[in-house]
C-alpha cells in the first residue's frame, strides 16, 4: 500500500523552469537566469503513517502527532466541530462569547486568576475560540511543562466554569468593539461588502449590541454542553515529546470523557444570487476605499485550481498581477490593490478586488477593474503569465509544510474540512493539469462585471466622473452604532 503511493507520486521534484517568451522582450538578466542550473529539491509531502501518526482514542478523540526535538517546546492545536453557523440571527453571539470565556472564565479546578498566573509563570499558553465554522483551542508549553499544559487544556475544554464577571467583561469588550467599528475604513468596507453579498446569512450578518446584551451564562453552558465532547474533537500535537508516552498521557487525562451524541442543526445555505450595483458610503476621508466582487465557489468545486491560477494572474499575484501592474505600477494610483478569490470556503465564498486610491481616482480605478475583468474572461492569458502562475504554485508548495506544527495542522484541517486524504498528494498534479483555456473559462464563468457588487467608501463630494457608468447607484449612510 505504501509502496503504491510512492510510485504514484514519487518524490516531488521541483525543477528550474525556463522562460519561453520572445527573445527580443527578454531582459539581459532573464537570459542569465535561464542558464542557471538549480539542483533538484528532493522532498515528499508528509503523510499519515509515515512522518505523522494519526490515532483515534476509544471515545472518538482524534489525534495527530509529529515529534520534533530541535527545541524543548510542545504545541497543540485543537479543532472542535462547532460555530455560529448553526445559530439563528438572534443567537449569533453565543458561540464567540462561549469560545472566549471558556478560557477566561476559569475551570473546575482553576479559578480565572489561577489559570492566568499558572500559565504565565511557566510562559505557556492555552487559548480558545469559536468562529463561524470551527471551534478551536491551542496549547503551547515548554516540554517540561507538558503535564500541566495538558491538564489545563483538558479542563478548559471539558470543565469551563464560565465565571459571570468574565462573561460581563467579554460582553463589554464586544460593546466597545461595536462602538468603534466605524473608526477604520478597512473595517467598514469589509463588513458592508460581506453584508451586501450575504445579507443575514452567518457569512455576512453584522453583530449588534442587542444581540449580545441578553446572553446569559446559561446560554454559554448549554452551548458548551452541546458541542464539546471527545467524539467531536481533534488535536494535533507537534514538538519535543515521545509519541508513545504522550499518547499514554492523553489517554490518562482525556480517557474518561464520555461520548455523547451531537445533533447538528442544519446549516443555512448561501443564496447564489448576484447583487449588482454601486453602493456608495460617504465618509470624510482623503482616500476612497473600493471593493468590487461577487459570490464565487464552494471548496469542493473542481475548478478551484484553475481559479487559483486565474486569480494569481488577475490580482492575486501581487506585483505579478494585472491589477497591480496597471493601477499601482503604471499609474501610481494605489499602494494597496489586488484581488482574492476564496477557494476554501464550505459554502459559496467570494471574489473580491480592492483598492485604496485618492478620491478623485475612484472612477479610473473602477474603469481599470472592469476592463481587466472583461479581458481575462475574453482573451487567453499569455504563455508567460500562465507559466508564472503555475510555477509559483508548484514551487511554493513546500512552504505549506515547512514546520512540524504546520504539517499536523494541515493534515488535521484536511480531515475537518472533509477533503479527501490524498488531497495534498494530488495537489501538484491538479495544478499541472490546468490549461490556459481553463483559466479563461473560469474567469468568464465567475467574473461578470455586470453582476458585480461595487462598494465605494469615500468623501463623495470629491469623486469626479459618473459612477453610474458601472451600475445603478445606491447611497448608504453610515449610522452610529447603537450600544446603549
Amino acid at each position: 500500500m505504501k509502496k503504491a503511493l510512492i510510485s504514484v507520486l514519487g518524490p516531488v521534484i521541483i525543477l528550474a523552469f525556463t522562460y519561453s517568451f520572445a527573445s527580443d522582450l527578454i531582459s539581459p538578466g532573464a537570459k542569465i537566469i535561464e542558464n542557471m542550473k538549480f539542483p533538484e529539491l528532493n522532498w515528499q509531502v508528509p503523510e499519515v503513517g509515515k512522518q505523522v501518526t494519526r490515532t483515534v482514542l476509544p471515545k472518538g478523540l482524534i489525534l495527530y502527532l509529529m515529534e520534533d526535538h530541535e527545541l524543548p517546546l510542545v504545541n497543540a492545536n485543537v479543532m472542535i466541530r462547532a460555530g455560529s453557523i448553526y445559530d439563528s440571527r438572534d443567537r449569533m453571539a453565543v458561540a464567540g462569547i462561549t469560545g472566549t470565556v471558556m478560557r477566561t472564565g476559569g475551570t473546575k479546578s482553576f479559578s480565572p486568576d489561577s489559570l492566568n498566573t499558572l500559565l504565565e509563570f511557566i510562559s505557556g499558553s492555552v487559548e480558545c475560540d469559536i468562529s463561524t465554522e470551527v471551534g478551536s483551542a491551542s496549547m503551547s508549553v515548554m516540554a517540561k511543562d507538558l503535564d500541566i499544559g495538558l491538564k489545563i487544556l483538558y479542563e478548559v475544554l471539558r470543565y469551563p466554569k464560565f465565571d459571570t464577571a468574565k462573561i460581563n467583561l467579554e460582553k463589554s469588550q464586544i460593546r466597545d468593539g461595536i462602538r468603534r467599528r466605524n473608526d477604520r475604513p478597512g473595517r467598514i468596507i469589509g463588513r458592508e461588502f460581506s453584508h451586501l453579498i450575504y445579507g443575514d446569512h452567518p457569512y455576512g450578518r453584522i453583530l449588534e449590541w442587542s444581540d449580545v446584551m441578553n446572553i446569559s451564562r446559561d446560554d454559554l453552558v448549554a452551548y458548551h454542553e452541546k458541542y464539546y465532547h471527545p467524539n467531536n474533537i481533534m488535536i494535533a500535537f507537534s514538538g519535543d515529546f515521545d509519541t508513545k508516552s504522550l499518547l499514554k498521557k492523553v489517554k490518562n487525562i482525556f480517557g474518561d470523557w464520555p461520548i455523547a451524541e451531537i445533533v447538528f442543526p442544519p446549516m443555512p445555505e448561501v443564496e447564489y444570487k448576484a447583487k449588482p450595483g454601486v453602493f456608495v458610503i460617504n465618509k470624510n476621508l482623503t482616500q476612497a476605499n473600493i471593493t468590487v466582487g461577487c459570490l464565487g465557489i464552494k471548496r469542493d468545486n473542481p475548478y478551484r485550481y484553475a481559479i487559483a491560477l486565474m486569480n494569481f494572474t488577475l490580482g492575486g499575484g501581487s506585483f505579478t498581477s494585472r491589477l497591480t501592474g496597471r493601477v499601482r505600477s503604471d499609474e501610481g494610483l494605489a499602494y494597496s490593490v489586488g484581488s482574492s478569490f476564496g477557494t476554501n470556503s464550505r459554502d459559496y465564498g467570494t471574489f473580491q478586488a480592492h483598492a485604496q486610491t485618492k478620491t478623485n481616482s475612484t472612477y479610473r480605478v473602477l474603469q481599470i477593474f472592469k476592463e481587466e475583468f472583461e479581458k481575462i474572461g475574453r482573451d487567453l492569458a499569455t504563455e508567460h503569465e500562465f507559466e508564472t502562475a503555475r510555477d509559483a504554485y508548484i514551487n511554493n508548495f513546500v512552504f505549506q509544510f515547512d514546520s512540524p506544527e504546520e504539517v499536523v495542522n494541515r493534515l488535521m484541517s484536511l480531515e475537518y474540512d472533509n477533503f479527501p486524504p490524498d488531497y495534498y498528494r494530488k495537489y501538484l498534479d491538479n495544478i499541472r493539469a490546468v490549461t490556459i483555456e481553463d483559466m479563461r473559462r473560469v474567469a468568464e464563468k465567475y467574473l461578470k462585471p455586470a453582476e458585480m457588487t461595487i462598494v465605494v467608501l469615500a468623501d463623495t463630494s470629491q469623486i469626479s466622473g459618473d459612477l453610474r457608468d458601472f451600475g445603478q447607484i445606491q447611497y448608504m449612510t453610515l449610522e452610529e452604532p447603537k450600544v446603549d
Binding site: 509563570f121 465618509k283 506585483f319 514551487n395
Partner: protein, 516 residues
C-alpha cells in the same frame, strides 16, 4: 541525522515551577568579506527551504528635512530593476529618464511657486508638468519589464517576499526553496551593485497613497505620527518613516540616488540566511556574487543630532473622526544602553499578559480601558518608551490617563513582587526559544542584532541583562525617567464641529440605503 540550530546544555534546575532548565544557544556562523559585507548563517535542515535577508544599515533617521521618506522610497525603488533586470533596452531608457528628471526639477519649482505668494493656489503649471511627466513615463514603459525581480522570485517559489523600512534599517527578505539560493544571490547582488530608479515618479505617487492609507486615514497611524513629532524636537526619530507629505511631493530622483550612494554599499550591509544551506557553500556563493561590489569610498555619514533633554510635559491632541485613543511616551535609552533592559522589564510588568498590572487593573477589574499596551524597542538611538491605551466608554481618556499613572506609581513605589520578576524572567527565556521556531523569525533577529550592535549573539547577552534586572532597578528607573516633565501625551479626539460634506450632484437621485 538532523543538525541542530541550537545546543542544549542541561543545567541543574530540577522541576516545576522552575522554568529554567535548559540553556539554548543559537548556532550561527559569521563571515566578513573584504568589501565589508557581513554574513550570518544559521543551518537548519528540517525543511528544504531557507530564509534570506539583506539588511542595509540605513533608515529614515539617516535622512534630512526635505528628503524625508527617502529610505522608504528606496525600499520600493529597489524592486524596479537594474541595467540587467527589469528592462529590454536600458540604453533607450536613459534619454527618457533624463527628460523626466528635467521636468521633475521644474515641477518641484512650480510646486514651490504655487505654495508662494505670487502664484498662490494656481496649479495650472503643476498640472501640465505632471501630465508631461506621465506621458514620458508611458513612453519609457515600452522598455520596462514590469517588476521582474519580484515576479522571478515568486515564480521560483518565493514566499513572504517583501521589504520593510524603519528608523534604523531597511531590509529585503524572502523565503525560497533552498535549491534557489543562487537565483536569490544573483538578483540581490545585481540591485545592490547599481539599481536603476526607473518609474520613480509614479512610485512616488504610490508611496503617497501608502501615506494616505497608513497615516492620513488611520486614526492610530495619525496619532502615532504626531506623538513622535511632538516628543522629538531635534532628532530625526521625530519624522515619519513614510516621510512628510510635502517631501513626497517634491523629492527628486537624483536626491534619492545620492542618498543611495551614500549609504547602500556592502560595507553597510548585513546578510543573514537561515535554513537548509551549508555555511561553507554560502560563503562561496556570497563571495561570487557580492564580493566584487566595491565598498563606498566615504563611510556612511553618522547621525550627529542628539535629542536635547526634555524639560516639561508636552500634551497634544489630534482631531479625527473616531473614538478616543491615548498614547504616552517617555524617552528611553538606545538598545544596549545603560538601564535599557530595565525598560524592557517594566513594559512586561505593565502590560504583558492577563496578570500584568495595567491589564489586570484597567481592563479586567476597573474596566476603564478596552486595551492597554506598553512597549520598549531595541533601537540605534534613544527611543520612546510608550504606553498606548483605548478608553472604554463611558470612561474618558483623562480618566484612563490618571489610572495609568496611578498603577505606575504603585509599581514605582513598591517595586515588583518576586513572583512578577520571576514570571518575566521565565518569559524572557521561553520567548527566546519560541523565537527560534521559524527560519523567517530567526533571520530577522540575527540580522537585526548584527546590524545594530555588530554582534548577533547580543540576542543572548541582552536576555542575560534583562534577567538580572531587580526590584530596586525598577523603582530607580521609574522614578528617574518616567516622570511628568519628561513625558509627551497625545489624545485622539473627535473634531469639535463636524463639517457637513456636500454630496456630488450625480448622486442626488439615488435610493437611500442603510449601512452600519
Amino acid at each position: 541525522m538532523r543538525k541542530y540550530v541550537i545546543m542544549l546544555v542541561c543545567l541543574a534546575f530540577p522541576s516545576i515551577p522552575q522554568a529554567r532548565q535548559n540553556e539554548i544557544h543559537i548556532n550561527a556562523k559569521t563571515h566578513t568579506f573584504p568589501n565589508g559585507l557581513e554574513l550570518v548563517v544559521v543551518e537548519r535542515h528540517w525543511s528544504p527551504t531557507a530564509s534570506f535577508i539583506v539588511r542595509f544599515k540605513v533608515g529614515s533617521a539617516d535622512e534630512r528635512p526635505g528628503i524625508t521618506g527617502s529610505a522608504h522610497l528606496l525600499e520600493h525603488m529597489l524592486f524596479k530593476g537594474t541595467e540587467t533586470l527589469g528592462t529590454t533596452n536600458y540604453a533607450a531608457e536613459v534619454p527618457l529618464m533624463a527628460r523626466i528628471d528635467t521636468l521633475a526639477h521644474e515641477l518641484t519649482q512650480a510646486i514651490d511657486r504655487a505654495r508662494g505668494p505670487l502664484y498662490r493656489g494656481d496649479t495650472r503649471e503643476v498640472d501640465s508638468l505632471k501630465a508631461a511627466i506621465a506621458k514620458l513615463q508611458e513612453q519609457q514603459r515600452q522598455y520596462v519589464v514590469k517588476d521582474e525581480l519580484w515576479e522571478t522570485l515568486l515564480r521560483h517559489g518565493g514566499t513572504f517576499l517583501n521589504a520593510s523600512t524603519g528608523n534604523d534599517g531597511t531590509q529585503y527578505f524572502v523565503s525560497l526553496p533552498s535549491n534557489k539560493a543562487e537565483l536569490w544571490a544573483f538578483m540581490e547582488s545585481d540591485r545592490m551593485r547599481e539599481p536603476i530608479l526607473r518609474e520613480f515618479y509614479s512610485e512616488r505617487d504610490v508611496v503617497y497613497e501608502e501615506r494616505r492609507l497608513r497615516t492620513d486615514n488611520d486614526p492610530f497611524g495619525k496619532l502615532w505620527e504626531q506623538l513622535y513629532a511632538a516628543a522629538y524636537t531635534a532628532h530625526p526619530y521625530g519624522w515619519p518613516v513614510l516621510g512628510w507629505a510635502s517631501d513626497l511631493e517634491t523629492v527628486l530622483r537624483e536626491e534619492v540616488e545620492v542618498f543611495f550612494h551614500q549609504y547602500y554599499s556592502p560595507n553597510n550591509v548585513v546578510i543573514a540566511i537561515v535554513g537548509d544551506v551549508k555555511f561553507e557553500d554560502t560563503v562561496k556563493l556570497i563571495d561570487k556574487y557580492f564580493g566584487s561590489i566595491p565598498p563606498s569610498v566615504i563611510p556612511p555619514p553618522a547621525v550627529q543630532t542628539v535629542e536635547p533633554e526634555q524639560n516639561g510635559e508636552r500634551r497634544i491632541s489630534v482631531e479625527y473622526d473616531a473614538e478616543p485613543q491615548l498614547a504616552i511616551a517617555w524617552k528611553s535609552p538606545a538598545g544596549g544602553g545603560v538601564d535599557k533592559e530595565v525598560f524592557d522589564v517594566i513594559a512586561s510588568l505593565l502590560s504583558r499578559g492577563r496578570t500584568s498590572r495595567l491589564y489586570k487593573s484597567l481592563v479586567e477589574e476597573r474596566q476603564i480601558a478596552a486595551s492597554v499596551s506598553a512597549s520598549s524597542d531595541f533601537t540605534r538611538f534613544p527611543e520612546l518608551f510608550t504606553i498606548s491605551a483605548t478608553p472604554k466608554a463611558p470612561h474618558t481618556s483623562e480618566e484612563l490617563e490618571a489610572a495609568i499613572y496611578e498603577e505606575m506609581g504603585k509599581l514605582a513605589l513598591d517595586g515588583p513582587t518576586t513572583w512578577e520578576l520571576e514570571r518575566v524572567r521565565n518569559q524572557i527565556e521561553a520567548d527566546f526559544v519560541r523565537g527560534l521556531q521559524s527560519n523567517f523569525g530567526m533571520m530577522f533577529r540575527v540580522s537585526d542584532m548584527q546590524a545594530l550592535v555588530g554582534d548577533w549573539s547580543y540576542i543572548e547577552k541582552v536576555n542575560e541583562r534583562r534577567k538580572a534586572v531587580n526590584a530596586a532597578d525598577i523603582k530607580r528607573v521609574m522614578a528617574e525617567y518616567l516622570t511628568k516633565e519628561k513625558r509627551t501625551v497625545a489624545y485622539l479626539v473627535k473634531p469639535e464641529e463636524k463639517i457637513p460634506v456636500p454630496q456630488a450632484a450625480h448622486m442626488n437621485e439615488f435610493k437611500q440605503g442603510r449601512a452600519k
